[in-house]
């Protein structure tokens, strides 16, 4: 018997066999648990291989070929990637449109979301009702029905022009004019500020009231409190919303597709990136080329997210650091 043994042992028992047994049992139990875990994960594994990771790698391969569903496919190296930037003006147009769409609508959307969240967080009675009203457009915004509605509202005889008419302003066909069509899509995306707003509201609730009390005792005004308390403590949430909405906006498809009648009209002014991918892949079946464009999209999103994470060091404040 050794005194250093922590585990109490039955007197007279030899040390070795029980330890071996114990270890064996433990290993057996671990192996059994792993097996159970993999059984629980089985559907997910199948999905990962067949629906997610497999297709992801396949599309990477396809992006280096001229695959088109029918006929042979040949290895073409980087031709698809070169073609995008050199021989496809519509690609450049789609990229520009998407960049404008994303970098205008996302900041506006977040600004509305934060502003409304701050107003609602001041103890307004009926908060759940307001929250629901502002949140509702987020749920409906990606539907075809709302896209149809948008096309009417901003059409030549649409609701917007009716209102402008009241003030004697001659309206125009907002969705049919190349200068304004993208703007209507941006407004639609801003209109769905409800979901980031709900996230902001949850974040604002985490800020202890005592901080504001202390600040106002010290004589800090509202503006000062906003910049010195609210903004720093909310910055992780702002960062989270920013990443999320950027990724969402880059993948916008339905609204532009329905409002433009499926082709990015007028004059390709609403041709978003994903629409160009769709047209190449499923209208003209240039699936190799479409895969290459999809991969460039992934790289753009990844790069943007990466840059955001790097920059977050300078403006996102984590209080537990």
């Amino acid at each position: 018997m050794t005194d250093t043994q922590v585990r109490p042992r039955p007197p007279g028992a030899t040390t070795r066999p029980p330890v071996a047994d114990h270890k064996g049992a433990l290993r057996k139990r671990r192996r059994k648990e792993s097996l159970t875990a993999y059984l629980f994960l089985l559907p997910w594994f199948v999905g990962l291989i067949a629906i997610t990771a497999g297709p992801l790698l396949t599309s990477l391969y396809l992006s280096f070929t001229d695959y088109s569903l029918i006929g042979d496919s040949n290895w073409v190296g980087f031709d698809n990637y070169i073609r995008m930037f050199q021989d496809d003006p519509r690609f450049i147009k789609a990229l520009t449109n998407t960049a404008i769409y994303v970098f205008v609508s996302v900041p506006l959307q977040l600004a509305f979301a934060l502003a409304l969240a701050m107003v609602l967080d001041r103890g307004v009675s009926g908060l759940p009702i307001y929250r629901s009203v502002y949140y509702l457009p987020s749920l409906l915004g990606s539907s075809v029905a709302i896209a149809i509605l948008w096309r009417q509202i901003f059409g030549a005889d649409g609701l917007v022009n009716e209102f402008l008419g009241i003030f004697g302003i001659e309206g125009m066909g907002w969705v049919s004019h190349p200068d304004t069509a993208l703007g209507t899509l941006i407004i639609l995306n801003v209109w769905t500020f409800g979901s980031p707003m709900v996230i902001f509201l949850a974040g604002l609730r985490q800020i202890p009231t005592s901080y504001y009390e202390a600040a106002s005792l010290d004589g800090a005004g509202k503006t000062r409190q906003f910049f010195s308390i609210t903004l720093p403590l909310l910055s992780p949430i702002i960062f989270f919303n920013l990443i999320l909405q950027l990724i969402n906006a880059f993948q916008s498809f339905t609204q532009a597709f329905v409002i433009s009648g499926g082709n990015g009209s007028p004059a390709d002014s609403t041709l978003l990136y994903t629409m160009h991918v769709y047209q190449k892949g499923f209208n003209s079946f240039e699936m190799g080329y479409a895969s290459a464009m999809a991969w460039v999209l992934v790289l753009i999103i990844a790069a943007l997210t990466g840059v955001n994470f790097l920059m977050s060091k300078y403006w996102v404040f984590y209080s537990d650091k």
């Binding site: 648990e33 875990a37 990962l48 997610t52 599309s59 307004v124 539907s143 509605l149 498809f253 992934v298």
Partner: protein, 310 residues
């Protein structure tokens, strides 16, 4: 100033709604009414209501237009129709090759099956990630998180090739089967986060009683995870019901069209000529989302707040 600071929702007014704050003891009803009536508050309410009205105006106007005779839609920008008619609904219902009940049924089948698939497959995977130890767990978990961010566009071409090899184009399988394979990893994450908050003592007690993991999962974890399961069901409903791209790609035969695809066909075939019927069907198509929204608000708000779902 102090009043404003003190009247943060967790301190007072919101407490009644959240159920997680403690109203101060001296916060009498009288004081509340007084506060609610103060000028600044009324102004805030007027602005909030006004802004909400502007935001919802397009939807309200669409509902009202769907009830107006077609020739009045563009002559009356107001909300209250001067004469009611249900013609738009009956005209729209039969505007395409099949009556819209056909498309609604298709959408309902796909949506219903997707909900079942997500609930089953995602909760199974979530249990493994939240409660079991297995080799490379961190790696698989990271992979799962990464797949949430993956744009659909980068996998849909190979998926199309796969499903067309299987002869699944123009069937509902490409839209349903992936849900049974837990490809909506968002919900795995949601449920992992939830299960982690459940006390492990419950599992341990069950183990002592001789329960295996399957029993712990079905008898303890699942019943306690109802809020997360509800959130999953509601979001799956809304996403699938609204989904357009994958339905557009995998369903090309009008017999298999869902509501969004049929609506879009409606728009393309009738152009700008039949707004009334189109609005009527659009309103009907948004109805179920609105219903789920009203029924599951609590879960929706919690779901967005914890994971940032749209």
């Amino acid at each position: 100033m102090t009043n404003n600071v003190k009247s943060r929702p967790d301190a007072r007014a919101g407490a009644a709604h959240d159920g997680n704050g403690h109203p101060e003891l001296n916060d009498t009803l009288f004081a509340r009414v007084l506060r609610a009536l103060s000028g600044k508050r009324i102004l805030t309410h007027i602005l909030l209501i006004g802004f909400g009205f502007v935001m919802l105006y397009p939807i309200l106007w669409m509902i009202s237009s769907s009830l107006k005779p077609e020739e009045l839609i563009f002559r009356e920008p107001g909300l209250w129709p001067s004469s009611f008619t249900f013609d738009n609904f009956s005209n729209g219902w039969d505007a395409l090759r099949y009556p819209f009940s056909h498309y609604f049924l298709n959408s309902a089948i796909i949506t219903g099956a997707s909900i079942v698939g997500n609930l089953v497959a995602c909760s199974l995977a979530a249990y493994a990630f939240a409660r079991l130890e297995f080799p490379f767990k961190k790696f698989w978990f990271a992979l799962m998180l990464g797949s949430i961010m993956l744009p659909l566009h980068v996998v849909i071409v190979p998926q199309y090739i796969l499903f067309s090899d299987l002869g699944w184009i123009n069937t509902f399988y490409p839209l349903i089967v992936p849900k049974f394979l837990a490809t909506d990893a968002f919900f795995i994450f949601l449920m992992v986060q939830f299960i982690r908050t459940l006390p492990r003592e419950l599992d341990e007690a069950a183990v002592i009683d001789g329960a295996g993991h399957w029993r712990i999962f079905t008898r303890i974890i699942l019943p306690l995870s109802t809020p997360a399961l509800a959130t999953t069901a509601i979001f799956t409903f809304i996403w699938t019901w609204n989904d357009f791209l994958s339905q557009l790609i995998f369903l090309t035969n009008p017999d298999k069209f869902t509501v969004p695809v049929a609506l879009r066909t409606f728009l393309d075939s009738s152009g700008e000529s039949s707004w009334g019927p189109m609005f009527a069907i659009s309103v009907l198509s948004l109805g179920p989302i609105f219903g789920f929204f009203l029924a599951g608000q609590k879960y929706l708000v919690r779901g967005i707040a914890t994971t940032g779902l749209k």
